[in-house]
Amino acid sequence: MAPRAGPPDGGWGWMIVAGCFLVTICTRAVTRCISIFFVEFQAYFGQDYARTAWIHSIVDCATMLCAPLGSLISNHVSCQVGIMLGGLLSSIGLILSSFATSLEHLYLSLGVLTGLGFALCYSPAIAMVGKYFNKRKALAYGIAMSGSGIGTFILAPVVQLLIEQFSWRGALLILGGFVLNLCVCGALMRPIALEEDRKTVPGLLEKDYVPEAQKQDLKRMSLCSPLIRTWSPECLCYCSLKEYDFLLMPGFMVLAVSVLFMAYGCSPLFVYLVPYALSVGVSHHQAAFLMSILGVIDIIGNITFGWLTDRRCLKKYRYFCYLFAVGMDGLCCLFLPVLQNFPLLVPFSFTFGYFDGAYVTLIPVVTADVVGTSSLSSALGVVYFLHAIPYLVSPPVAGWLVDTTGSYTASFLLCGFSMIFSSVLLCFARLAKKMKRTHLKSLSSDTHSKQHIWTNGAIAYSVTGELDQKDAEFLPVDTNSCSNR
């Protein structure tokens, strides 16, 4: 198959979006629905809520921690095989759980095995969407990520029904069958070879490069692309090092740190919104309604924000849209302790839900903008990996704060400041980059070299003076190419 000039932005791409949508349903929505089983587990195994709730933490943590493993497998073998393997593993995990005889058995089968299976599916599927779309990337991601909200909405009553009809064992068995649909999604992920994969995007654009190092990089990247498979150990080791060289990119490092703080800030809110609402006098029904609003507006935020940031006027400012969404979420959190009754909490749910959906859509887009499409799979693996520890640590810390201070104010303030810090960090990084660029421009303006052309005899590139990612233009001039025939 000859490599394409650019992402198709449609056609089979929409099947990929459908596949990713189903992957998000089968992973994120199923994870959220596991908490519906807790009452049954508590009664059956005679354990208290805290020990049963560990299952949910283990699944979430395993899904995020093993995300890099998922990207590794799909990069080196194939995306289809990776996702199908993940689907099989998680299905087996759920089926084994239906025969569980103790809570520890559930921790291993439902927690570790299923979580691992989900991890093998989640980030490769999202990376694949990025490969198939360029102009409509954010919209495609919006539709794909909305799966978690829509999935939770539909799956929650269905799971409840299954438990009533078949008890938790039967329900887990049938859920295992449902999760097997991940294999179908895997089959949909047809590999696509892009021109871009042969040429490195990231290294080129982050710094004003010395030609020598650039030549070497290009040679190496072309060796390591999945199109050419050389399985010698040195090459593999070398290739995996090269694969992860985006880790040293300053843009990526800033993104990684900000993701840590952002994940820390957003996770306790979902856990503590209902208890907080109950503590200020909202009734059970109204508190559940708040959560529903959050879920539904999340979906709307996913899709509309994705569509919005695809518009030409906003496309250049996607980075700022992302940090704006995170900052707004943080601001909402800061206001939360002041909102003491139901009519005030409803707009909070609306705003928080909308911007939560918004930034979730933009995470893969911003990552792709920073590291480029070829490394997107591995980079996403790392980004989701960085979500894991905050997800695990943050709710218990918030709970401890609530217990010691006696009110929710401290924990919500901490969450709010964490998210605002994350967004401010990104803002400063971008400003620093701009300042550095103007400084460099003033230096290089005396040499009048706006165009740098490197040739290595086979492939020549020209990069125009604008160093911004999106504005870089590649003019591949193949000196050995067709004109000689």
Binding site: F166, S167, L173, I174, G177, C183, V184, R190, C482
Partner: protein
Amino acid sequence: MILLGPDLTTAGFNEEINLNKSKALYVEYEVLLPGESDVHVEKNIFLGSAVKIELSCRLADKHSHMKILQVTWKKGNETIKHINKTEISWGIQLTVSENRKLGSYTCTVTGEKEFSVVFHLQVPQIAGREKPVVSYKGDSAILICESRSYTPIAWTWYMTNGSEQIAINDSLMLDKYVIDKADANVTHLKILKLTEEDGGTYWCEAAFELGKSKGKLKLKILSLMVPLKPFLAIVAEVVILITLIFVFELYSKKKEKRAEDEKEFDQIEQLKSEESNGVESNSARHRKV
């Protein structure tokens, strides 16, 4: 402990709850007449332990000028002597110490119109479970009954065999039934090694100081085949879809390859015909890509 509602001008019940666990021995209940929509009102009062209770009925303000001909307090057919608390309220005081004293006490106020209220004094009700508990053959099932607000003295479990209710004695059948008595407010019945005959209706009976109360639970036993059928249906669907997708992929690859081959063939033909025609061209040959 005097319990009166906050707003006496609103029609409807004018009462406050509570039987405090800390041995509050005296409670009062007052009902405003008439009720919301009806001239006859009913009120349920649950008593977990022996109490001294005062029941009273009072006329609402808008009827306070009604000429009252007669006020009667009755339990069944038996009239009870009442006291006039005020001009428009009348009450009775009871010491409820045994089951006999529970029942329905009626206050009837007759004047231009007749109003009445019935107080139902009863033991606390145990809520069973409406939806059946589902479990599988060979597995174990747990039936739970609880009474949070009132602490019972003892719990007993009954199983229905035909039309009879048989008490379950866990000390006799240790490997079949386990009754958990850890918490006085909750009881767990664990049934091991389930078989088809174990399905049916179970009763959990709570014994209070003043009487007994039962809750109903249903147990349904399924065989493993029951959830297996939908599971296998989904697996079949998955396998079919995967096969279809791979077949489609192979087909579209073949089509693309065929199209490429045809294109190359056409171009070779074109070159051949150009050569054979002896067409000379000084300009670079352009290949249609």
